[in-house]
Subunit: 372 residues, 2 copies
């Protein structure tokens, strides 16, 4: 069997609010070259899947607002493999649509789903983990790839591992929501938990059967759409059925219930994964030599050096996209993000709270919607 047997699905949604003002609803995180110069996070995601999935087996699911940008960033993606959602219906509809469309092409297909906006530092280790997951999927399991925690992160969900059920494959006993700091520390200490990075590998048939068992209406709707896919009826059916689909994550809709009946397993992965979720994390990544490194004072500067003057400034992250001169004096562990219409100045330890800024701009209403 070829190693390139996988159908890869990349749900490209979410605006990355903790990366505001760089990431916006109309130019979200996955379209930005945040880590590798000249390569967006989406492009890097597809590139590391290419050894597993040829382009004709690679699918991207995205919203209408980003279809053109995705198509241009991925010129090798076949047009019919760009699945455009008429409106956001959460991850189960997005991933389920891809599963149903792929199942009509190849009922025995093994499919993996990988977020468009995560970073993997060691792609070959990632590919090795996916190959193990494919073996689990062949055995009829809904596979996840969990991440070995490196710190007591409170921003992710966790997987509690059960017994070893194969070479590098562990049962998933339970899905856990984002924990408190104390609980996260206990998870880390125990060694029994993995970060849930929303990476899934399964036989499409196994997934769709579980969807039918747990969410029959959602399964019926997606099956109806998939039956019309590629026919003259596609747009009419999509327009009628899509808005009726339940908004629910694939974790809640399928994975948690499948874990309860012993159908979910995981491959503990260790391949330098990060979700690049906020500017502090982005700064940590960019501080690595491979991604540009720091200046002598530990600052990460993502800007034309000629437009930046840092005076007695250390451990800070400066992102400049406006072309303006940026000068700092006496900053410690700060974040400065300068865009043509909005500026963020933030302490690194509160980088997660940038979401509150976006919430406030939403609260202020239409006059601020152009900033979101």
């Amino acid at each position: 069997m070829s190693s390139r047997t996988l159908y890869s699905v990349v749900p490209a949604g979410g605006s990355g609010t903790r990366l505001w003002p760089l990431s916006r609803a109309n130019h979200p995180k996955f379209l930005h070259a945040l880590a590798h110069p000249g390569q967006s996070i989406l492009q890097a995601t597809v590139a590391r899947l290419t050894p597993l999935s040829p382009p004709d087996r690679t699918f991207v699911v995205t919203g209408v607002a980003h279809a053109a940008a995705v198509a241009r960033q991925l010129p090798d993606l076949p047009e019919e493999n760009l699945l455009v959602e008429p409106s956001p219906r959460d991850s189960c509809a997005a991933i389920g649509l891809a599963a149903a469309v792929i199942a009509r092409r190849d009922p025995d297909a093994i499919m993996g789903s990988f977020a468009a906006d995560h970073l993997v530092r060691r792609p070959s280790a990632f590919q090795d983990a996916i190959r193990v997951a494919i073996e689990g999927a062949r055995r009829g399991l809904l596979m996840t790839v969990g991440i070995k925690p490196t710190h007591p992160e409170t921003g992710y969900g966790y997987l509690r591992m059960g017994e070893t059920i194969g070479d590098g494959i562990m049962q998933v006993a339970e899905f856990k929501e984002k924990p408190s700091a104390d609980v996260a520390a206990e998870y880390l200490r125990s060694g029994q938990y993995l970060w849930n990075a929303s990476m899934f590998v399964w036989r499409v048939g196994v997934f769709l059967d579980e969807l039918a068992r747990q969410r029959p209406e959602l399964h019926a709707g997606l099956t109806t759409i998939a039956a019309a896919w590629g026919t003259p009826e596609q747009d009419r059916v999509l327009g009628e059925v899509w808005p009726t689909l339940q908004r629910i994550s694939v974790d809640h809709a399928v994975m948690e219930g499948a874990a309860d009946v012993g159908k979910v397993a995981t491959v503990p992965g260790d391949f330098g994964w990060t979700d690049l979720g906020d500017f502090h994390t982005l700064g940590e990544i960019r501080a690595e030599e491979e991604f540009g490194g720091t200046d002598d004072a530990g600052n990460v500067v993502m800007a034309d050096p000629d437009t930046v003057v840092l005076q007695d400034t250390t451990g800070s992250v400066v992102v400049a996209q406006s072309g303006r001169m940026i000068a700092t004096v006496g900053l410690r562990d700060a974040i400065v993000v300068d865009t043509p219409d909005a500026l963020l100045v933030c302490s690194r330890k509160q980088a997660q709270e940038v979401k509150a800024i976006v919430d406030e701009l939403k609260r202020r209403g239409d006059s601020h919607s152009h900033l979101l």
Copy 2:
């Protein structure tokens, strides 16, 4: 004798580099409405002199770059009272030119000189102090108005007071350069020192005689220019003589030497003076109720509130002139100054170091001169 007997001279020079990027060479500090809404520092300076000097006895000395702006900001200033320096030759040439021009109009004139870019919170107390200084000037003294120190400031020169020689008038024993922190603390403790705020009041004849005694060439040059002032020869003589004048401050050229021979006295003033020299000081002024006050978290916001979101930010100063959205998270005692082509982010305790940014931009050469 009328209380409005004073000829007032306002040297309007200096770019206020510690207020960069708000203050620029082509739009310096004195042209900005930093304290009173809708009134520039220059306008406020002239307004508080009006009870002492009618418009026809008020003079402004400025550079060619700012002549038009000054003329427009001061519509009541007679055209002939706007003295335009062909090039900067430091304060003795600027103030001496005014003294020489005034002396030709009125040899017995009493003249005061007051920087264009300082703030006075209690104008009536200021006017009272100047009236005392006028009495000293009548007695043939070169009067200064010193400021009672409120903290051990290292950014100003000091005056050491000698004996009391009149009602509210003290001899000036010595001029002192900007001190170290230890020395400034000792000055404050002793009660014998005043800040030198570069405010002078004198009979023009007394000043010009001292200038002739100490700097005869400078005196001769200024006398030659003044003789041609208002005649068809003015521009030719100014063009020939001005570039030959010594570049020296009035303190070094005249006041220090005059103090040595007992001709300088001072009025200790206490009228809420500040030089508004940096953004920390500006923040302190604007934090006062009279100048706008702070928000509940002690922040001073000089911006359209609709363009600012401050999240967990305290004790900070935000100045917005670009129209862009400014968002902050987790800032403590910081300064954010946003202009259309340059941004400054600075800790308040290092506000004086903003000058280093300007120095660095100068060092970078022509490609950055538009930012100066």
